[in-house]
Subunit: 344 residues, 4 copies
């Protein structure tokens, strides 16, 4: 049994950590912090947790108390983890950051996209990008994990097999992504109101979204060279879920794309390659730490289409964070992540 802390517990990834950890046999939540809600019982804010965390109260962030935990999750907006992570690592606490703070290896690029200087560039070398399907071994040893973003997870898992095998034109990749509204967080903004976002569909950030450099970095690693990527995210009227539709031009020849995908993920507990001809639905992963994939080649032409679905709050955030924790502490990879998806 280990003790964990959660910094920034009032957002959707924070409450999702609580929901999943309630079923984790090896973890106890020792502290959850929130400046705005300090003193409030978590079940008052999240009645769905009544009966599970009746004695857990939001507290002011306190490096000492958090430092007494074996691991601390950051479920914070970007920029918050930089300073505190360092302090915790010094106390021997391992850090799993769900924000974007340690995802980019290049501090200057981070500064450019996030509009502020990077607050802990000295930690970037040691930070491990927490995509277990790529970095499992490094994650086991890591002190500091940068949990991938939701779009980056869906896009990378769908393209890794093709790029690693050098089968598609790396100059010209298209990722058309659709996300439920929890991707925008729990902040009170007019465009996220039910009356505004329901019964409608729209693209956003077509000229450049903060997840773009992260995806490019990961795809570049897989391809062994810089990639050219067009990434257009869309807002979809649903609570959870990301559907990434990925387009590449086949350059190499390959007789069995289906087999390629199945083989690549054969030992991955949280990637499910669907049978040929499938169209995975986002609801088939609602609430669970899974990426379901299908690969198509329309008209047997030279365009490959990969369909990749995840729950943005689970495989795209809190579930993947717990998967990282399981690897870091030698738990069963499946611990806390075993329940099937809620459907319908």
């Amino acid at each position: 049994m280990i003790k964990v802390g959660i910094v920034g517990g009032t957002g959707y990834t924070g409450v999702e950590l609580l929901r999943l950890l309630a079923q984790h046999p090896e973890v106890e939540v020792e502290a959850i912090t929130s400046r705005s809600e300090a003193g409030l019982c978590v079940t008052d804010l999240y009645p769905n947790l009544r009966g599970h965390y009746d004695n857990l109260t939001f507290s002011e962030p306190d490096a000492k108390r958090l430092g007494a935990c074996d691991a601390v999750f950051f479920a914070t907006p970007h920029g918050v983890a930089h300073a505190l992570a360092s302090e915790l690592l010094e106390q021997g606490t391992r850090v799993i950051d769900l924000s974007a703070d340690f995802r980019l290896r290049d501090a200057a690029e981070w500064a450019e996209w996030y509009g502020q200087p990077h607050g802990a560039p000295e930690l970037l070398d040691e930070s491990v990008y927490g995509l277990p399907e790529v970095n499992r071994d490094r994650i086991r040893e890591a002190r500091l994990i940068a949990v991938p973003g939701c779009y980056p997870t869906a896009v990378q898992l769908g393209l890794l097999p093709l790029l690693e095998a050098g089968l598609i034109d790396a100059e010209r990749i298209i990722a058309d992504c659709k996300s439920g509204v929890t991707g925008a967080g729990r902040g009170a903004k007019v465009p996220s109101l039910l009356a505004e976002a329901s019964e409608s569909m729209k693209a956003y950030g077509a000229s450049g979204h903060r997840h773009l450099p992260e995806i490019r970095q990961g795809l570049g690693d897989a391809a062994g060279r810089a990639v050219g990527l067009t990434f257009v995210p869309h807002l979809t009227p649903m609570i959870r879920g990301i559907h990434a539709t990925l387009y590449g031009r086949l350059t190499g020849s390959h007789d069995d794309l289906q087999g390629l995908f199945e083989q690549r993920f054969a030992n991955e507990p949280f990637v499910d390659v669907m049978p040929p001809g499938s169209h995975p639905e986002t609801r088939s992963v609602k609430g669970v730490n899974l990426c379901r994939l299908a690969v198509h080649r329309p008209g047997d032409g030279d365009t490959v289409v990969v369909l990749s679905v995840i729950d943005n709050l689970v495989k795209g955030a809190s579930g993947q964070a717990i998967h990282n924790l399981n690897l870091m502490f030698g738990f069963d990879e499946n611990a806390g992540l075993a329940a099937p998806a809620l459907m319908p």
Copy 2:
């Protein structure tokens, strides 16, 4: 470890049994039947279960195979369980029927509301109404359980404390109920299409709904006399959930309705009396076997308003069925039912 069978596994209560039983430490699903889908792997129909029931295939109903199970769930339309239940009971298999077939004690009343003769009136005496908050001890010993309907569960739990204490006018009870569309089942009907049911609200069955006699029977038992009930169900544009708003006229005097409710359900693991002034949301029980209640007395007048929410597929069907199973076989009441609700 016991073996269970499911008859009629393609509907929403069938797949919900599978989802919940996947987490049950004491139960193995031995057989699942469906005439229309016999031969199909359950994960082909329900991809959310991939990885959990990869070797389970729908089979033709077979009394012998089902009779080899310790217990069999019926997740069938009304009328189906009558004949087969008898056959299974003879083989020593215990039966948990989620349909309406054994809920009414009066076979004639059943025949009137369901438009066909009752097929197994000889079993009615032994059938136990599976509302654990009322019949826990009888359930433990039962061979045949009639799992309560979804509306009846929400309405009875909200009114039991008041009726048992004789505090409201039993002649004049109003139950205004709102249900998500899974209450109408998985049948392909035009009014259940997203394009028809979304962005709209309507009442139905205002002149008489089949759950009316079941609710009246249960409330009558609590009151010790026949009750007068007006029950109006409404269709709500959401997948899961029932919100029952219950109105009664206070006749007896009681200083502490909140305390009455808290005391009545103090030892009930699946009823949560919310703090005074609460308005429970159906999403707070999404996917879980809970009824959350709040009691109000507007303007300190003589009308009491009880708000009662459940997930119609869990506490209103499959979860309650498993609760019954746990009682019948001496398992932890919470077995398979421990995960928190999915929110948001």
Copy 3:
């Protein structure tokens, strides 16, 4: 052709006025005010109006400019219209207030429910409650109209025939109401987010809602005596629409409730009494100035159930406001209000 102004044009009732007035043959929108958006073109905020109001810009509220209009609509939060209305009336401009500022005849009661002193009690005598089905003749002559609230419109229209005929127990009326989320306005609040309000149902204000005194006043007028009303509003996951389910105990005897309703509204262009046995859907009035009603008497007992649906933004606000305008200026009652509902 008359000139109108709109004060507080950025909210949902403001934009709905613009949408409807775009089809009005006798009205030109001269000014629309908004402190927060002054200088912005309305089509930048509301792209659905591109092509209709391309030269209309939000301006600072200016009593002189508004006073040059024949009529001014207030689509403001409560408390705003009090001062400005007086100034406009002095300039000969007629005022149609969609807020709650002039609905209650009793300034003290207003102050109690709205938590501030009434700012223009001297206008209350002359203010006319703009429910045309009750006050058509007075509306024609009025200078100052208080447009009814959304819940009050749905509830009053459903109960008027019964109360005017003295057929139900006025002491014990129940109004169980369900509203789409636009009823909460366009303010950015967490509970109105799609991620929070979708896939859920909840009651609110069960202990007392600001529309309660307004409804009681209107029902009392119809009954000729004070009424006892329990009013419980619910939030429903849809954009528009109110469904009021109304319960009364029949005291007088009446053979033909259906006929009573049909006769009461025979000459009303915006009330539609549905055939016996109907269950009106809110979507059947989406975008239009109609109240559809159905009357039921379950089991031929002594409880009458009335189902009443409106679009909260149209018959519950902006459409009814335009109906008032049409009466005040002698236009066809249907002007600007003739299009059928959008379905599906």
Copy 4:
């Protein structure tokens, strides 16, 4: 005033014709046919039309009665219009077919995609593809119109300027399209249930969809050569709306894509080129005959992204059909199509 008939009036495009024609100053609906609902009043099936078509009843299709109309709309599944169209044309009635029956110029290609021989190949030469932005003059003179499909409308309008100007690689076009569920029609199918389609997103027909040859034909005409197109449609949890996200590789150089689009559609009443940087929402065209477009060039690279939104039932079907009618009979192009979109 002309008389029109509607064949196949019970589906969504049929009722949408009725809704729009109710506001058309020059058109009277003389007959509406439905084999399944013959004898039923249209307002019994579609209560939203109460007060508008109270005396209109579905009738059996009757070539004589339809032949007495000036124009007949076919709102039928594919294959139905072939035989009847010919009969009507002979009687001098003009035909506007909303189905796919006359869209493809090549009868063999039609037969291949629709799995049956073409029933009226002799009419193909005279049939005019009813996209007014391309064929306005030919439409004015036409006797037989093939109204474009919903996806084809959104995709073609978004790509025409680029292809006509020869600016993108015609070999390699990607159309990632998202549609609301009314695109699947009013048929009762399990995947279209609210409980199945809500809170989820999925692709379908990734290996080939019937709209593909129609889009290729139209784009080929614009490009003056055969095009290579990857078209992936997706099902989105909303009632109405199509969002097409279109990707092309810029080959020619052009300084001002925005200007190109604005100029191309400068005189088009039903195409709205949004300001630079816009992301059109499908709700901004809810219920109206408009295509709103935005053009992006992410990172000033060589990929152009066009965002194109329509209401699939209006600009993608019934509204465009009426636009064709207006052209054919010399009415104002805007007749019956003037109201602004419903928002929110």
